[in-house]
Amino acid sequence: MSRELDVAGWIFVAVMALAAVLVPFATLGTPDGAALHMPTYLVQLFGKYLCYAILAVALDLVWGYCGILSLGHGAFFALGGYAMGMYLMRQIGTRGVYANPVLPDFMVFLNWHSLPVAWWGFNWFAYAMLMMVLAPGLLALAFGWFAFRSRVTGVYLSIITQAMTFALYKEFFRNDFGFGGNNGLTDFKDILGFSLQSDTVKVGLFSISAVALILSYLISRAIVRSKYGKALIAVRDAESRMRFLGYRVENIKLFAFVVSAIMAAIGGALYVPQVGIINPSEFAPGNSIEAAIWVAVGGRGTLVGAAIGAIAVNFAKTYFTGALPEYWLFALGALFVCVTLFFPFGVMGMISRVRFRRRRGEVATETAT
């Protein structure tokens, strides 16, 4: 990691930490209409971006540093989101339309009489939290174990990750799969006893998301700077060399993949209470591809660039879909083409590479004299 990137990373951490502290103040501590007042809808919007940024950092860890272009990371994000959604559903209790104390509304509607086993325990937050990590973690472990052991790499791996998320997309659509089918999970009331409608909770979720993003960044940073991180990059650049050096390449990949999946899932779990709904469309293959675009725009293999890319592209998306809705997809496509053609290393990659080239030039002149 170059020095410039490291500086950019610390600036980013500082900005996020400030946001985590100052946004609650700007929202709750100032009256409506004051110069610094931040309306809660904006807080929720940015909270959503931060969750996407966590997903982007997670994706960058495997794509940027290990060369695994996962086009299925949206699935891990969505699984984390579903685990949180299931907890929130069970908190509704008798306040649902059918007022069933145990069964969520959609189950009553489907004429179910008992809670499916998969839903047991989700009334406890600790259990739900465990599942947020365990379900996507185990999926990534199983998927990665087979894929990396069979030495599926490159575009073939990308395609089967797409297949994975598409399979889940189809499965979650089915009513009898037991997770709300087409409509997904929604109408949440409260989390840990606090109403999701209250400004305090909304702002609190924003701050927690900012902290989670900081932690995701710092954990990923520690990973890529360790000797394991060097091995990760080495696998990306010359996989067979690593095998002939005696490294178990599949284990190296698997660890990064599982950590990344869990990180993405935490992003998804924080996303759901802020947007108030989780449905199968979160598994749509397009979502995962969009996440790869955020990382490409910000600069893969930079971590901080991935986070910035996610926030910037989604900000642009919000603007475009509001102002010029019919042009958003064209804009996204154009962005991807431009980045690929002119900034193959993304925004952050450009910065560190220009500086790097300059420094390498200095070295060359030194040796020449």
Partner: protein, 253 residues
Amino acid sequence: MNEENSKLTSSLLYLDNVQVTFDGYRALRGLSLALAPGEMRAIIGPNGAGKTTMMDVITGKTRPDIGDIYFEGRHDLTTMDEAEIATLGIGRKFQKPTVFENHTVNDNILLAAKAPRTVRAMLGAKGSAEINQTIAHILERIRLSAVRERLAGSLSHGQKQWLEIGMLLAQDPKLLLVDEPVAGMTDAETAATASMLKEIAKEHSVVVVEHDMAFVRELDVKVTVLHEGAVLAEGALDQVSADERVVEVYLGR
């Protein structure tokens, strides 16, 4: 049979009747070879003789259809994968220099150096004065001390070849397989590489595959000539180059 057995147990590397077929093409047709501990061997042969395929079957990249490959008389290499074989102590240098271009010269050696290779050990690994010393020592031997902090990708072709040799030294294998180490090198670099390899051969067993006859002469070791996936002749360079069959298939052209 008894003679075969003693040959097996006394050899560091033992190949017997190894056959490999790719889509009907018989790359190795009953290759047999025995390498004594501490020996340095040069392998020559025309293109398509099976030199690289031989490296591949020894290092686990390719599985032979039939035949035995034993290391140190007891490890059956035909049942192991690349990482296991590397861990046993067989290092390999590719024909095209393969270094980690985005890592510094220092980190290339660091990754190759003997150390626990599990994810957990690497996550907690700390640099030490000892490993720094080892790296410095190796860089001196491969003449790259001055470029220790440079990215490997910015090295010249010859320097990359040396770096890869240095990585093998750091790996400290019992047996080194070196595939065309002087391809694309200048004469001065070739001479330096020859002395580097001879130095290495003092402490390691080495198999060198090479086209460059001047280089093979400089190594001054026993030569095995491969032709159409089997051994054609074996002995000192002068002896095999006097062999009529060798002259016909290889040297004569």
